[in-house]
């Protein structure tokens, strides 16, 4: 029996899950609130550790969408549970009956202006990791003008209880090191500094990325969190941190500062949780049934989770969760049929 699966969120998790669910013989209905599919990935340029182009990854993901019903510019207005199925109303007026729902709603990028001491939106030469990827994609950012000294600030809105995020965002260390190398390639004469608390290069080939950044690109690493940034009379940035490995305060004037904005829980999570009964963790991300054994199932029957909706993840981890969720949904239908 063919069943409807509503997939909310058209990022990598949603797209991959939709394809797999279709392959299992069910009917995926994918909705995305933005104008195009791809989520945050669509705004990125290249991926760590090998610099794979996001465009190629997205093209591969969306190459085969046959049998998938998908809507962009579409959000959820309401979800109601009838006995064995869910009724969802979309913002485009369409109503759908779904036998299962997959939340692939991802994360929200931490708003860097919240860390006022770093001066994003106040000083001219402060950008975020997302702005830099946009610059790599378009070559156009008035704030980036042949910089001679560039700084990367890790953990902006991550590992920061006061900013509301105690957790590590997982992907920013590798992203910062990747972006530092890319900037060195564009501006070979620039001195580049990364300010980190811990370098979490956990994945395969990530340590090689770090080693390359040191040895091949000559990126300097300063262990210490940037405490404050101010602008001098020429509009350059005076950056202060402690060099904790030297045990001394450090000061440096820079032409460009890149803030590694982390992953915050999707801002719509509380609303979704109250609509569906999905459990939300203390950190604001959704809680699966069991972090070890049932990572893609929610506490609500027929509702599944995949990707960064349950915490920061890399792209391959997200894609694997999407596949696992598709399988879990198929198993759920099989058990229901018995």
């Amino acid at each position: 029996m063919k069943r409807n699966v509503l997939i909310i969120g058209g990022g990598p998790a949603g797209i991959e899950a939709a394809r797999r669910i279709r392959d299992y013989g069910h009917t995926p209905i994918l909705i995305e609130k933005e104008a195009r599919l791809g989520g945050h990935l669509a705004k990125w340029h290249k991926l760590f550790p090998d610099g794979e182009s996001t465009e190629e990854v997205l093209t591969a993901l969306t190459s085969d969408m046959e049998g998938i019903k998908w809507f962009t510019d579409t959000a959820i207005v309401s979800i109601n549970r009838l006995k064995h199925l869910y009724v969802a109303i979309f913002s485009n007026g369409i109503t759908v009956q779904a036998d299962a729902i997959l939340f692939a709603t991802g994360f929200s990028l931490f708003p860097a202006e919240k860390k006022e001491e770093y001066g994003y939106g106040i000083y001219n030469n402060v950008v975020t990791n997302a702005d830099l990827e946009h610059f790599f994609n378009t070559g156009n950012d008035p704030r980036i003008k042949d910089p001679k000294v560039i700084g990367f600030v890790h953990c902006v809105g991550s590992r920061d209880e006061k900013a509301g995020n105690r957790q590590c965002s997982k992907v920013c260390c590798a992203t910062a090191v990747k972006q530092a190398c890319e900037m060195k390639e564009r501006y070979p004469d620039a001195s580049i500094y990364c300010f980190y608390m811990d370098l979490r290069m956990f994945g395969r080939k990530y340590e090689d990325l770090y080693l390359n950044a040191q040895r091949k690109y000559g990126i300097f690493f300063v262990r210490g969190r940037v405490s404050e940034v101010s602008e001098d009379i020429e509009g350059r940035l005076v950056v202060k941190a402690e060099d904790t490995l030297a045990g001394k305060p450090l000061r440096i004037t820079m032409d460009l500062l890149v803030l590694m904005a982390g992953m915050s829980p999707c801002i719509e999570n509380p609303e979704i949780a109250s609509m569906t009964g999905i459990h939300m963790g203390e950190d604001g991300f959704f809680m699966p049934r069991d972090l070890m054994l049932r990572p893609v199932e929610s506490h609500s029957k027929g509702i599944f989770l995949a990707g960064a909706v349950t915490g920061p993840k890399t792209i391959p981890e997200t894609l694997n969760e999407a596949r696992a969720a598709a399988m879990a949904i198929d198993n759920y239908f099989k058990q229901k049929a018995e």
Partner: protein, 108 residues
């Protein structure tokens, strides 16, 4: 003038803007592995001379990178070139060779 006993303490801040890294660049041309240090501290922990003197290769390398090596370079005089740090370095830096190159370039 009356001496009230007050003095000015020089700033301990590492000022990267004033750093002259020309010697460090020379060192890296000769010893590119100098950039590979990840400050794990194995060298200092295993150092034969470090127990009795201030010598700490990790700190010296960092100070070279920041251009504030002046007060630390003397430490290398205590090195006995035993090579234990070379054995323990997880990044495989030829520390013994590196120390000799530092001594040559920085004229110790």
């Amino acid at each position: 003038m009356i001496d009230f006993g007050y003095t000015l303490t020089p700033s301990s801040t590492i000022e990267i803007d004033d750093a002259d890294l020309s010697l460090f660049d020379q060192l890296c041309a000769l010893e590119p592995d100098a950039l590979k240090c990840m400050s794990c501290g194995s060298c200092a922990a295993s150092c034969t001379a470090g127990v009795f003197t201030d010598v700490n290769l990790r700190k010296v390398l960092l100070s070279l990178q920041r251009g504030c090596e002046k007060d630390l370079l003397f430490q290398l005089k205590s090195c006995m070139l035993c090579g234990k740090c070379y054995i323990v370095c997880p990044r495989g830096i030829n520390t013994r060779h590196l120390i000799l190159s530092i001594c040559k370039i920085y004229n110790i």
